[in-house]
Amino acid sequence: MEKSKVTLKIKRFNPEVDKTPHWENYAIEVEPTDRILDGLNYIKWYQDGTLSFRRSCAHGICGSDAMRINGRNRLACKVLFKEMGATISVEPIAGLPVLKDLIVDMELFMEHYRAVLPYLINDDPPPPTERYQSPADRARFDDTTKCILCACCTTSCPSFWAKEDYLGPAAIVQAHRFIFDSRDQAADKRLEILSDSDGVWRCRTIFNCTDACPRNIEVTRAIGEVKQEMLFRKM
């Protein structure tokens, strides 16, 4: 396959040297089917070893290489150069503190995740076999089990940009996964957490989260279902 020249315009920031982030251009040759992650690896390995970014599985499963590519949150390992044009901007996801270059501090995001009790709670003694769940009951929350906690959704949300205390779409998706799990017994507790002013009602139904999700989770729909559950359960 013929290679072509592209320019990666990367937002760099080194807290030990820079006061504010700045853009740097890197010209590289890539095949159209190469991924943005391949381009970043090439730059790091052959042009500028100081470039910092997270990556792990490189196959869209671990969610560590979430970044803003051409203005929109995506996973660098899931985007091909042929989809992006000749000049591609790459910057860290917005709303979380930048540690260095494309690496952000995920602590706040994880704090929100932990806040919604993202684990099965069932005080009944374990049965001799598995806790039975019908295929229909399992299907109820199937979509939200796909979340990989990459933060693409939360950091694309204007409500989160405006107020970092907002739990954000990812945490609500995780809550949805357990609220609608027929084996779980703590839905009321989670709904109470989400009914806070920084909970589900801060969602403005903008749909950036749904557009940004690399796993194609119907995020806004999940948030809408949690809102409904909160409303109708009380009624």
Partner: protein, 137 residues
């Protein structure tokens, strides 16, 4: 929080909102906010001028003349657009919130709401423009 940090935060927020390549939903939301600000501005002015009736009716009368200036009447067109868009888009969002399964039709819902806005707005705009032209003659 100092005024400088509030301004800086607002700047960062506006830049993010403006530069993020969100879809149609983000553009609809930005317009919703701007039209909301438009309605709020009118309401604030309205409250102030009504307050002036009690304060000094002569000042109120003098200010009312301003509202009848052609420039201000063009502002009525903007106000109409703000009210109509904010109401229709708000109804769209409420509908999507009550029926999350409709999320797939988000793009279509925006297109439909824009058509409804235009159907309501264009006649209002024509009526106001007609009255402005008549008043100029």
């Amino acid at each position: 929080m100092s005024v400088a940090s509030v301004i800086e935060n607002a700047k960062v927020y506006a830049t993010r909102t403006w530069t993020y390549e969100g879809g149609l939903g983000q553009r609809a939301w930005i317009l919703h906010r701007l039209t909301g600000l438009g309605v709020f501005t009118f309401l604030a002015l309205h409250i102030i001028d009504i307050f002036l009736v009690g304060f000094d009716p002569q000042v109120f009368n003098a200010l009312t003349v301003i509202y009848h200036l052609p420039v201000m009447r063009l502002g009525h067109i903007v106000l109409f657009y703000c009210v109509i868009y904010h109401a229709v888009n708000g109804a769209r969002i409420i509908t999507l919130d009550f029926f999350p399964k409709l999320w797939r039709y988000q793009k279509e819902s925006i297109q439909i709401s824009m058509i409804v806005v235009m159907v309501l707005f264009i006649p209002s705009m024509l009526v106001i423009l007609y009255e402005i032209i008549i008043s100029l003659e």
